[in-house]
Symmetry: D2
Subunit: 361 residues, 4 copies
């Protein structure tokens, strides 16, 4: 089940970076949803490379084609198959990458697991695969929208530059005006400068994406193993380059006292609410109706222009340096991927919750 995500709303994905195409199947999408195809393509465009001078200039014109599951503009309840052609798959010279294990890439581990690998452009381990998740997430978001649930993410840190203040959900959209997807302009500028420095030094940067989910009913998630934030964490840690995940107070909670950390309940507008939100919108593994808040840490890009020591698949020492231009920092492009995975988790939990009570069948 490694390439399927979700229990009821399920995305199954295929495709390598330089194969003929990538694509997926969404199974379990409720019937009768009017699909906004323009919006789906817009989400894909947010992820594509070459959006600015800060990202890789490789142009990927990712056009998604839907083959099934939609009829007269509506979902039919049958699986939605879709394909994105890999246009830029001319036969390049992969002789170096073919026999060399690039540091902190998946070359060695794929060989160890499978005994062979499609080395062209990283094959299955390439982040190109995340385009499929963005398509799945875009459809998930349209289901969520019917129930008034929205998701937003933005760049909270790039390398040394961090945005310390909290961002209101409605201000997250401002990040789309920023080359680095940071909603506060002066911090955005500092982040851009940091990226430019990394480019100049043939180096790369990591960062943090922060995200919020609003409009959730209380009670989503499953007790014990599939707590809402456990499923979220699983989703986020499955994104390339992610090294950490935290919900609400996160690692900072480890340094807090209970008397400070506890979120006191109160009643507002006849709703049970919490005064603070250290819980990040999840208590006992279930949503409590507050904003779900989480953060995702990305390591710096492994591909850098500097000379690095490594070994060949014959176990000989080798020196290598990446040629051409590469993304010095993927964190801005990770924003729509984080949103997509959050949408997949949320819609699945929404659907899983439809059978929790006998009086609501």
């Amino acid at each position: 089940m490694s390439n399927t995500f979700g229990k009821i709303f399920r995305l199954t994905s295929f495709g390598e970076s330089h194969g003929k195409a990538i694509g997926g199947i969404i199974d379990g999408c409720p019937a009768g949803l009017e699909l906004d195809m323009v919006q789906i393509q817009k989400e894909l465009d947010r992820r594509k490379p070459g959006q600015s001078r800060l990202t890789t200039p490789r142009k990927e014109e990712d056009q998604v084609a839907f083959y099934s599951g939609v009829f007269e503009g509506k979902t039919t309840g049958t699986p939605i198959g879709f394909v994105i052609q890999n246009k830029d798959q001319r036969s390049k010279d992969y002789s170096e990458i073919k026999n060399v294990y690039r540091p902190s890439h998946a070359d060695y581990t794929y060989d160890a697991k499978y005994g062979l690998r499609d080395y062209r452009g990283g094959g299955r381990s390439s982040a190109r695969e995340t385009a499929i998740r963005v398509v799945g997430g875009a459809i998930a978001r349209q289901v969520l929208a019917v129930k008034g649930i929205s998701i937003g993410a933005y760049v909270q840190r790039i390398g040394p530059v961090a945005l310390e203040q909290d961002i209101a959900f409605e201000d997250i959209a401002l990040s789309e005006n920023s080359l680095v997807r940071c909603p506060v302009s002066n911090i955005s500028e500092k982040m851009e400068a940091a990226v430019q420095t990394a480019i100049a030094e043939k180096d790369s940067l990591g960062g943090v994406v922060a995200a919020k989910i609003i409009g959730l009913p209380a009670g989503l998630g499953e007790p014990v193993f599939d707590k809402f934030h456990a499923a979220l964490g699983h989703a986020m840690l499955g994104i390339n380059a992610v090294k950490g995940f935290e919900i609400g107070s996160g690692f900072a909670a480890a340094e807090m006292n209970g008397s400070v950390h506890n979120d006191a309940f109160e009643v507002q507008d006849e709703q049970v609410r919490t005064k603070t939100n250290h819980s990040g919108g999840v208590q006992g593994g279930l949503t409590n109706g507050e904003e779900v808040l989480f953060r995702v840490a990305f390591k710096p890009v492994a591909t850098i222009g500097q000379v690095q020591q490594t070994v060949s698949n014959e176990k000989d020492p080798v020196e290598m340096a990446a040629k051409g231009r590469h993304d010095p920092c993927v964190v801005p492009r990770a924003v729509p991927i984080v949103e997509a995975m959050a949408a997949l988790v949320t819609v699945d939990m929404l659907l899983r919750n439809q059978t929790s009570r006998i009086d609501q069948l």
Copy 2:
């Protein structure tokens, strides 16, 4: 599937804090494993309350009884059913907890999801349920031991007191000499003092558990959604009170440059190894044969003796303060739970990897 963990080696769990019993079923354990029952009970004892003056004095004599799946000392390949009786289930006065939503507990969210809840002692949301995971993990560890794989965890932080140095795997066992399961004695003493202070202040503390897995072959984990550390993160975030998870460099990676973060490959003893281990033993979602390193953040215990504001299930404002003594810090007792969940993930990934290559069937 909320109460089942794993794809091949699967633990299904049942039980509430103050019901008749808790228990579980392990399905998919390979046949022919000689089970060390003493070792399983020993793991359970590491988790039980009342181990020291720092933890709750409630004595839980958790005796696990195995009902199936073991014959003449060996696993038979059929499901292993086990039960732990809840001895301390006398009819208490739950009138207060029954109608009140305790801050940062699961009372409100369970009611929201299910329309009712077993309020006695927290019911299903109680950490008592983790005893089942420890039993499952103890059996998983015995499978792993056959393949030379070991897991160790220790307390790296309690509230403000942190252990900054790295601990070699073989030194992790020293933590069993410490009341707070910290392997370095002078830090352990500071942690104990911090806990004593919290007790005096009727407050509670959070902390961090650090863990290592050694002896792993390269290639465990699944590309894309079920990366090794994504499954680990899912497991850890499913433990009560966990707010964050990181693998290898974790959140610190967000502030690092690629030239520093990349783990250069080299050959040692004819093995491909990395000079550093920022990856935490996982690259491209698959183990690379290095130590797997991860950290888990726990929030402070929600139950405190101080007076707190909250609401009743009738939405009336209420003041409450926990009576009796409670764990001021669960992090030391979380150590065997972290190890157990790591064992469940690892054994499942080991088994899932048995079908990855046609030449190894």
Copy 3:
């Protein structure tokens, strides 16, 4: 997942014939269902051996104990753990069965798969395990009852004696008056005579169980792989001794013309109905609102008193004859098991169908 049945309403089962206990966990039962415990025990009693002179005289006092998931008489949405003690587990002399592969039993295949087996009383392969399914099915039936869905089964054939006429759903209950669970008394008597003959000849008999499900809404089941009757067939073929399954017209359909077999639609009481029901209530894999009709074929019991040729686990030729008395025909006792498995399939399909339409979320 071999010992878990269902996708949303999930029964996980453990236990061997002569281990300490058997039991199970039901996960995914909606919260708020008032459980009728007497009814559950009644179902168990229908399955137990020793009900009449025609079945094995071994008395199994199967008392089910519920350990979790029920509070103040209602399901809580958390897993329902239950255990049935194996009372009759005194240490017998199993020396013969231990080393001999009984013809048409599972002794040889278990050894081949696992390298060892719990040979006492057949271990996991014993039909004793079906008691767990009856408990799960009894709870499933109570969920179904809330939605007006009922299930009934009866013995349609024992060896050479068959009941050729159709039985109306409300007459199925008459079979509880029959020692062989056949609702038509003169056929029942012939069946009983056939069983008496088999006993006298130290032989055994097979038979057929017929079943109906009524009150189903149209649309249950899943297109393609998980058609309603495919899931039903899976369930039935998983019952011990079952060799065949058919829905509606079944094998007879192979000999019919389309012009005869097709079920013409008509409108009755503003409902779309079919004039005939060769489809057996399922079209395109989905229920159509008509009665679901299916039949299940059981082979004769493998344990017989006659001398048989076989081999030992050392591959030596051996003669053997079963000692003591055994069930000459399990088909009457299979009736509640067929009903239970049908209930598990139906409730799971009912719950899976809760997310099929966006306008019904």
Copy 4:
């Protein structure tokens, strides 16, 4: 999970009869398998319509395109994505079928479940979808071939004409010389005559496909719910138009005595074998090393040229008669589909069995 089949070797399918394309994803295929693409296409050709004057003259040139998971001729262990374009999707006049519920078709039940349907050519309920299964099965067979396992099926009955004798596995291939895929020529001729009669009468016929699996090791399958033949039955009953399934002696077992039905063990060439094979190669749910024998019953095709009574989606009575020519009997074309589904079950069970013993990890 309705559109995914299998636990480890998993086929997920998408596509409607007259959408843009159909296709699928195979996940869990072991790496390193040399794929014979010609053989895959050959299997597809066996299923396609228009193979003879007895089947529909509609020409479907089903060309499968593989998009991922294969590199330099070998499987890579990553998901294999494939697509078959629907070439013949010109805009026809569907006005009649759009508003009418065809008898014994899926029109009504799809509407009942989803609230809408893609009515063109039957949409998802069309047997066109089985082409995907044939592709999946063709790859599964290549995995099985590495382990010496083969599958063969043939037509055993069409309407009133049955082949009563047993067919040796090596003679099954003779059926490819027959227009109706019956390996015995004089019976084949009678079957063809029966089909011609049905065509003349604007009627249709059902039939039975018989199949064998050889080369299986003992021990495949899972006890209790996922018995080998339960999984097989699930697979077969999921094929369009299937009404019944039986393993080994099947329904005939219900009329047999245990003394006749039991398969005595003996030793041949140091192997434990059975003298007879009423078990059909499965005992206790696990393969015993003998040939697996099973039969699948198909109803007559629902689409016939005769006038039929039915209702519209407005619940008005309607008369209809299918126009053009249609398959009067799909059973010959079902043979490769039965083989494909059997291959998918068998390869999945083979892979699931890789973790059954600790000494074989």
